[in-house]
Symmetry: C2
Subunit: 269 residues, 2 copies
């Protein structure tokens, strides 16, 4: 666990500094890559930090990202364009550039989550399964990303050990910063892309499942502790699939949902 | 039914014309409003038409819209910004302006859907229920929007006739252009916002469920005939809810999925 006087790895490695009126500089660090490419959720969190610094509202309500080109380690420019500043919500675009090339286009609505008012309801209860402490770190332990994020899955992991996929298209489990830092709203943008692609549970391991587009809807500030997570797919169509995520904090409250569009590239036979 | 030599209402009322290099003009027509405000899916379809005209790829793959301010009837400027043109995909932004004010910010990936290749799978089968011909037009027949879109629901409609909501948070049924025109990929952007909000099936009728943000993922060109549709919500959190849609064509193929974030505004007690 990190001490309260330490900066967490996540906070340090998503930090941005203001360089000009609408320009924020960040850096993509080693530790977060899936293969050669920084994880899309991690990259989105850097944009989320820049928006949090730049906008009058501090909390992401809904954040959408289109991934135009793979990012690389090193400096990243975040050009923030304010679209509309309202009383309850601010809308903005954040363009992530590396060496002048637009890599990720982010559009967001920021708000003050503490001020949200209205009814609360869920169609189904939070799934009940073995807790964080009862699960072992899982997935592909050779992934660099596992240096920063502790992923613990409940079942469905046979496919990582030479077994057959279950065919359900779903992973359930827990996520936490590997250094023990507590989750915040910006880290939810990263955790939304932390689980293995559910298509692994359908067709088996696939080398490359690039994200086309990812939307994270944040519902509340997470309480300290590991996040409970469920990532599932329902429809794969000629290589295009959606991945839907649900995230609950340690007090059992839903704190975010996510959906991404990804492409499934099978090796040529 | 319209004759083959007629222009459909949808085609005529989402038409755009090029005014300058990156500027397309459209007009929001009467017939599509929910209360005083043009339906968000209809407005998105106008942007979708402009992108289809402007980009080298013609089919929406995934389209995201943030609704910043309510639109009104009349002219709408669509400013198209090309983000990246690749071999398989073109990314672009379309900003919809009325009287100089940005109303809707659209980001999109366009492709050629006929060229998609890869595996196809669904976690669950398409729901089976009474067909288009066996269902009556349903929902709030006094809505202007019903002049353009024939919505037929299967069950869950008691709430529109003074009954109690079922609590499931789901509407199932069918949609078709009211003039009998066949669906195309652009109309899927509109049909993705055509069903009543599933929250009606949870808390009862609510006057105002404004869309914050809507993403439509198009999977295939629809075959002629009514579209089968399912719109459901799973999590309402302090007045913020998601609405997930699934759309199948008359041949039973999944042609689109959608997700929107909406706000539920209950009347003050």
């Amino acid at each position: 666990m990190i001490r309260p006087d330490q900066t967490s790895q996540f906070a340090a490695e998503t930090a941005v500094r203001r360089q000009a009126e609408h320009l924020w500089m960040g850096e993509l660090h080693a530790g977060w890559r899936i293969g050669a490419v920084p994880n899309g959720g991690y990259v989105l969190a850097v944009a989320g930090r820049a928006l949090r610094e730049a906008l009058p509202h501090r909390d992401p309500l809904t954040v959408n990202a289109f991934y135009l080109a793979p990012t690389v380690l090193g400096p990243v420019e975040c050009r923030v364009e304010l679209l509309r500043a309202g009383r309850n919500t601010t809308h903005a675009v954040a363009g992530l550039y590396q060496e002048g090339e637009l890599k990720v286009q982010v559009t967001a609505a920021y708000t003050d989550l503490e001020q949200q008012q209205g009814p609360t309801w869920s169609a189904t209860a939070r799934p009940v399964y073995p807790g964080w402490d009862e699960c072992a770190p899982s997935g592909d332990s050779k992934l660099e990303f596992r240096q920063r994020v502790d992923v613990r899955l409940v079942g469905g992991t046979e496919v990582f050990h030479g077994g057959a996929p279950s065919g359900r298209g779903e992973f359930r489990g827990w996520v936490r910063h590997a250094d023990g830092a507590e989750p915040d709203v910006i880290s939810l943008l990263m955790f939304a892309d932390a689980f293995p692609p559910p298509v692994f549970d359908v067709v088996g391991l696939v080398n490359w499942v690039p994200t086309v587009e990812l939307t994270v809807q944040v519902r509340a500030h997470p309480a300290p502790g590991p996040l409970q997570a469920r990532l599932f797919s329902r429809h794969l169509t000629q290589g295009v699939i959606e991945e839907d995520g649900e995230y609950w904090d340690s007090e059992g409250r839903l704190v975010a949902i996510s959906r991404q569009t990804a492409k499934v590239r099978l090796p040529r036979p």
